[in-house]
Symmetry: C2
Subunit: 467 residues, 2 copies
Amino acid sequence: MNKSFFLKAATSVAFFVSASAMAQQAPLPVSENTIKNAAMLRDKALKSDSAYEILEALTTEVGPRLGGSDKEAEAIQWAIKRLNDLGFDKVYTEPVMVEKWQRISERASIVSPYTQPLHITALGKSAATPKGGVTAEIVHIPTYEALLAADPAKIEGKIVFISNRMERHKTGKGYGPAVQARGKGASEAARKGAKAIIIRSIGTDSHRLPHTGGVNYEEDAPKIAAAALSNPDADQLERMLKRSKPITMHLDVQTKFHGEVEMANVIGEITGREKPDEVVLIGGHLDSWDLGTGAIDDGAGVALTVAAANMIQDTLQMRPRKTIRVVLFSAEELGIIGAKAYAKAHEADIDKHVIGAESDFGAGPIWALASKVSTDSAHVIDKMAQIMGPLGVVRSARKAYGGPDIGEVGKLGMPAVDLMQDGTDYFDLHHTADDTLDKVNPEHLRQNLAAWVVFTYIAAEWPGDFR
Amino acid sequence: MNKSFFLKAATSVAFFVSASAMAQQAPLPVSENTIKNAAMLRDKALKSDSAYEILEALTTEVGPRLGGSDKEAEAIQWAIKRLNDLGFDKVYTEPVMVEKWQRISERASIVSPYTQPLHITALGKSAATPKGGVTAEIVHIPTYEALLAADPAKIEGKIVFISNRMERHKTGKGYGPAVQARGKGASEAARKGAKAIIIRSIGTDSHRLPHTGGVNYEEDAPKIAAAALSNPDADQLERMLKRSKPITMHLDVQTKFHGEVEMANVIGEITGREKPDEVVLIGGHLDSWDLGTGAIDDGAGVALTVAAANMIQDTLQMRPRKTIRVVLFSAEELGIIGAKAYAKAHEADIDKHVIGAESDFGAGPIWALASKVSTDSAHVIDKMAQIMGPLGVVRSARKAYGGPDIGEVGKLGMPAVDLMQDGTDYFDLHHTADDTLDKVNPEHLRQNLAAWVVFTYIAAEWPGDFR
């Protein structure tokens, strides 16, 4: 996932007593049969490696799949085939235009007074340095806020180093404050005359695998190269800077923009038996960063939502009342591009979107269920949480956001839930080469799948309105 | 440290009752004053960051220091200055000739039927591939033993992949069996016609930071390029191979040999007050692999032994009876080259070497003390272990080896002890880019220093003979 989610979701989480219990009119109940089926699906999911198998195949056979690249195009074909092989009722795509960016090479070293190579990665969509790189003194700026306040005379002609550290937290709330250095640091540094910017990785690990992620250039500023140091390299640079001698760095980042290319959101549907035009929207993003194989970001989300829909289809004798639509979004990492295209394409039929949910926070256990639904339908979410109770899931009072992609549709008024995952370790791996299958615990994936089948099935079966 | 230690030290460890208690003659005791001083030094060390400060400076100011490289030469100058600044009584060097090997570049990718980059490192002293690399089918061989047994017809023209996994253990005993693939695999594969060899990293982590380490070419075999995959990449390749389609890899390893250069062992001494020509020999190796900054391998050993000698010198009013000689060995990683030069240069005065010990197994806590000394002097080691008791150190019945460097001198008959460290996590970092200062726990380093001052001081003060 990219940064937007955390900037918006830094709100508190607590146990919840549904307001629906006090509602005037008797709300439309969840039928006993629906509850029974949901519990049965949950128990089946706890024994199923179907999500893991999809994830294993995507990461092994396709691997890295940067938005707009040939590898994303390969992933799209892979997904179409997989959804067809699984027997989805409908499989189709919707076009997404993506500006193709390519990482070519990236190198950095301290050249004076010490000589050492550093582990860096170009930030996503970074501009290149001049051929051969730049060599300049480092100016150490602790945070993005300090950069805003800094005197341009101190920055002019130098390489800015922002050293802020991300804090570890189950909800990932340390990401929002830290990531501003990545998103907005480059343009601010450039406006003050910097030759380039390097940041401490926005991540919580201590390995020499730097974290990439998108940089956003503003139009009024020169586009300077932007890169992240691994956290041990940032520590090393800070130790050098403490010695109070000028530290000179050589930075060579080569990247290329290739213009717009057509990619696609891949969509699979389980057609509703009674109201096929009403859809429960679930999904994740098919693209990944280019460094890892996109196992936790967001292969897990792709695998879980595809497997959940498929299990409901394969297990029950009847299709649920409404359609389950799984959307595998294009180019999320490059700016939620696929989801924006989906929202635009579906503006006219937005009222047919019953409710939405996304999986894009790794593969840690789900521990809470949050919602943004009408008072009269909150009891349905309470019931879902109750059925998820044996999985260790509690009801959250936090207002659901929907996730970075589904949130784009949520902005148009679609209700949403968040199946909140434990993200304690997520930012150890996020946007690094270490985002690989070995980091995924198959048992956690089964727990996730169990929660997803409960939500998806009840949402598609309950006859009422979440609006 | 390199591989020799573990091949030799796979013996059992147990609590120990000294045979000296049953000796016929009353052994020469450790004086009460010596015991008191040792305990005082131990308690002082537990509050001292002197070892950490040396380690911080070496890794920050010098960083990577591959044997035979300009960086090792820089480390030698750094060490001479440091020992002088610390006030050692004598600081000098002894020459060591090292064949200079250089890593230039290394790239690998799967090109068919999947297309993905892999994280690799050239093994130390690896030959290069032809310019532009080699492209060939992978043949999967589970172990070195299986390679010995393999039909050359299956290997001819292919890239051999040995996938054996190293097991994690406190004593590091999983290293010996696994590392044969690294040391001997290349020549065996070449004899059977392989174009190159790649191995699963000899390491216990799951990060995309491959483990380098020396390859030993035999004279009767062509020299083919040898590289290690990171463990997640080895997992990925194994998953691909399970799909039972031919897997084609492109491997491009560029390295260069520059001939012999002169490096040096750096030696610092605290001159004995009574028997200055008798020496207690301690040390570690100053060189490191080029990927990390050599914090645990073996900056920690350098820092601990220098700090231990220095603390004894700075704390006590009198020098110990015998000389403490700290040797910082050159080019251990490339074949224990500095230690072999030392042993050769000191063959004639080997009987003046009272006892030796080395720190070269990272920076984990010391948990046991082993010895190779005479029966009549074993009670002295028992006493050392007793004084180290509050540090969590037990007496081991294992015969001490001395470590990879000191062991070379031990071969000539010098008694030795092993201050055995907990190596549970050592092979997560060993020979990788992740061998950096942030991995060292300052509290563990203080505990190590406390054990080192006890051993070093008593060994230099006790008037008897360990032979």
